[in-house]
């Protein structure tokens, strides 16, 4: 453990991290958002899932600094009388959870298929890559909208609402596998030509061992780079689906469904129901994208030249 620690402390990665103010700020922001959202039950003043804590008489209260504000609700309340700040914390937790698990699923599927396509080549490779091409051309959002819409229509809204979080993870997770598969395949093809692979083959190691223990570790940096961007994309897709009413239900809102419920009231002047979750969502996605961009610059050996 301590060996890895000293290795990490002396790495170019850490050095470049500490030299870049934008990255330090975005990393701290991300850390802060994740920590406060996952400790939501501890720090949120209200529990938005508990109907006894919600009073319809408190609905549509503007933020504290406005004339009609209520000291109990810092950022005001939504149309159902839920405290915005607490609901947003719980919503961020849902959004981040869906993003992380969907990317986990994508990476498992994509890495396995990409590794197989790159290593075995031949018919399997061309079949998988054609499939990836076709699936990519249909776009994740389109596939997700269609699949979720059909599930909602055939399950009925009641049952669908209970399964929403699971369905979102599955759909976003499965629809995006080509991103990983292509990236992994490309680096596997590059690695396969190197001498160390010939060497382990000559030693007589099994195919599986060569694939997972020798080639896979060398494809990790592109995987890391796309993983960051993919989490941001998954969070955005989830928000879009929830906004269309195909994602998280109103009684268990993610950031997207909060924005959706606020959109109906923006014309009547209740701007805070939409604006605060929207700002939080943009901030969350932006810091992840900034981190991803930076990581691509640092880990991409192609850019070392300049």
């Amino acid at each position: 453990m301590s060996r890895y620690w000293t290795l990490f402390m002396g790495s170019a990665f850490l050095y470049r991290f500490l030299r870049d103010k934008v990255v330090i700020v975005s990393f701290s922001m991300l850390l802060l958002l994740v920590v406060i959202s996952f400790s939501a039950p501890l720090i949120a003043p209200f529990d938005p899932y508990d109907p006894t804590q919600i009073d319809i008489m408190d609905s549509d209260v503007p933020p504290v600094w406005q004339a009609d504000g209520d000291a109990r609700f810092i950022l005001g309340t939504d149309a159902q009388g839920r405290d915005m700040w607490s609901t947003m914390l719980y919503g961020t937790r849902i959004s981040v959870t869906i993003g992380l698990f969907a990317v986990l699923l994508q990476s498992i599927l994509g890495i396995a298929l990409g590794l197989a396509a790159g290593y075995f080549g031949g018919r399997l490779d061309s079949f998988l890559m054609r499939l990836a091409d076709i699936q990519l051309s249909f776009s994740t959002l389109m596939v997700a909208i269609v699949v979720l819409a059909i599930f909602q229509a055939s399950f009925g809204t009641e049952l669908y609402n209970d399964l929403a979080i699971f369905m979102l993870i599955m759909v976003i997770g499965i629809a995006e596998w080509p991103q990983y598969a292509r990236t992994v395949r490309a680096s596997v093809l590059a690695e396969k030509k190197k001498e160390y692979v010939d060497a382990v083959r000559v030693i007589g190691l099994s195919r599986r061992r060569i694939m997972f223990r020798h080639i896979l570790p060398n494809t990790l940096s592109p995987i890391l780079v796309i993983s960051t961007v993919q989490v941001a994309n998954a969070i955005m897709s989830e928000a879009a689906l929830s906004f269309l009413g195909l994602g998280m239900p109103v009684n268990q809102p993610s950031l997207g469904s909060l924005i959706n419920s606020g959109f109906e009231y923006i014309l009547s002047g209740s701007w805070w129901i939409t604006t605060f979750p929207a700002l939080l969502l943009i901030m969350l996605v932006l810091v992840i994208n900034l981190l991803g961009d930076w990581m691509r610059d640092v880990l991409n050996p192609k850019l070392y030249k300049d």
Binding site: S139, I150, Q152, D293
Partner: protein, 325 residues
């Protein structure tokens, strides 16, 4: 080229078959067509008889074949809600969506190329830095939020532009178009900007990075050494080779664009296919859902095949089938 064409067409056909199979299984599992036709009072025996005459008890393959034959003739069943052929309902709404996509594409083309090329040529200028910063912010804002912000700013606060619908339209060759009236064009502005908002930063970044890579290549250095005019080098020699990856990515993005029309149309209540599709889902209007899937699938397949063919024609190094050594 012919072999390449045939192979691409064959692939397009397979994809369309898969889409039709999926659509058919949706129809098979979603809702009971009998319930839409007859009331409560019809007895079970009569229902069975009706099922037999309608062919609902036939094997899956037989029913699918029948569905396919009808679909090829353009008959996808009647919409439960509109009581009209579903395909007709969808095609009525198609021009609205196409106009939206057209508006957004114009914005993307006319802004992304100048900005992307400028940023590649002048990587250290302040404008480039501002643009790169803005583009990452742009990528991070979901389309529906951009749409809401546009409505809030330009319709509610400033009152400059209308926030929903298509406005005044005129009929031309049997299709409704909003492109010929001032009111229709005014209605098109905000939705088009919203739809282009996520693609535009993506394309600016893509064009910039591709162009920067091209500018590093030997043939560009040689052109400089030869003393060619810099405008000639930038806009003729370098830009030409930047186009190739842009075409490929553009083809892939068409799918994304259609998906985003659903979001944009929902926010702006734009009477297009996407809006119709969501309504159909809420009403469990199965024939309409299927018609949408097939029309959109067809649009994807046709554009992707075209993009591939254009790519094959533009890029002489692309490996055409049958010519491999």
């Amino acid at each position: 080229m012919i072999a390449f064409l045939i192979r691409r067409l064959g692939q397009a056909l397979v994809v369309m078959l898969i889409i039709s199979l999926l659509s058919f299984s949706i129809q098979d599992n979603l809702g009971d067509p009998l319930r839409e036709l007859v009331g409560q009072s019809v007895s079970e025996a009569e229902r069975q008889a009706l099922r037999d005459t309608m062919g609902l008890n036939d094997p899956f393959a037989v029913q699918y074949w029948r569905f396919l034959k009808k679909a090829l003739r353009g008959d996808l069943g009647d919409s439960y809600f509109f009581k009209k052929p579903a395909l007709e309902v969808i095609l009525e709404k198609l021009p609205a969506t196409l106009e939206l996509v057209f508006g957004a594409t114009l914005i993307i083309l006319f802004l992304s190329f100048p900005i992307g090329v400028y940023c590649a040529i002048n990587p250290r200028s302040w404008f480039t830095k501002v643009m790169m910063g803005l583009s990452i912010v742009g990528i991070s804002i979901p389309v529906f939020l951009t749409a809401i912000m546009l409505i809030y700013l330009f319709s509610i606060q400033l009152g400059w532009l209308p926030s929903f619908g298509r406005g005044a339209t005129t009929m031309i060759w049997g299709y409704e178009t909003g492109l010929l009236t001032v009111d229709g064009l005014r209605h098109l502005i905000l939705p088009s900007i919203a739809l282009s908002s996520i693609m535009l930063p993506l394309f600016i970044r893509l064009i910039r990075s591709e162009m920067m890579e091209v500018l590093e290549q030997d043939y560009i250095r040689f052109a400089w050494a030869k003393g060619l005019n810099r405008h000639r080098i930038w806009f003729l020699h370098a830009l030409k080779n930047t186009l190739l990856p842009v075409i490929t990515v553009g083809g892939v993005q068409i799918g994304t664009m259609i998906a985003y029309t659903i979001l944009t149309e929902t926010v702006f209540q734009w009477p297009g296919m996407g809006f119709l599709f969501l309504e159909a889902v809420n009403r469990v209007d199965t024939p309409l859902i299927i018609a949408y899937l097939i029309v959109v699938g067809l649009i994807f397949v046709v554009t992707n095949t075209l993009v591939d063919l254009i790519y094959g024609a533009v890029n002489p190094t692309v490996k055409l089938a049958g010519r491999q050594a």
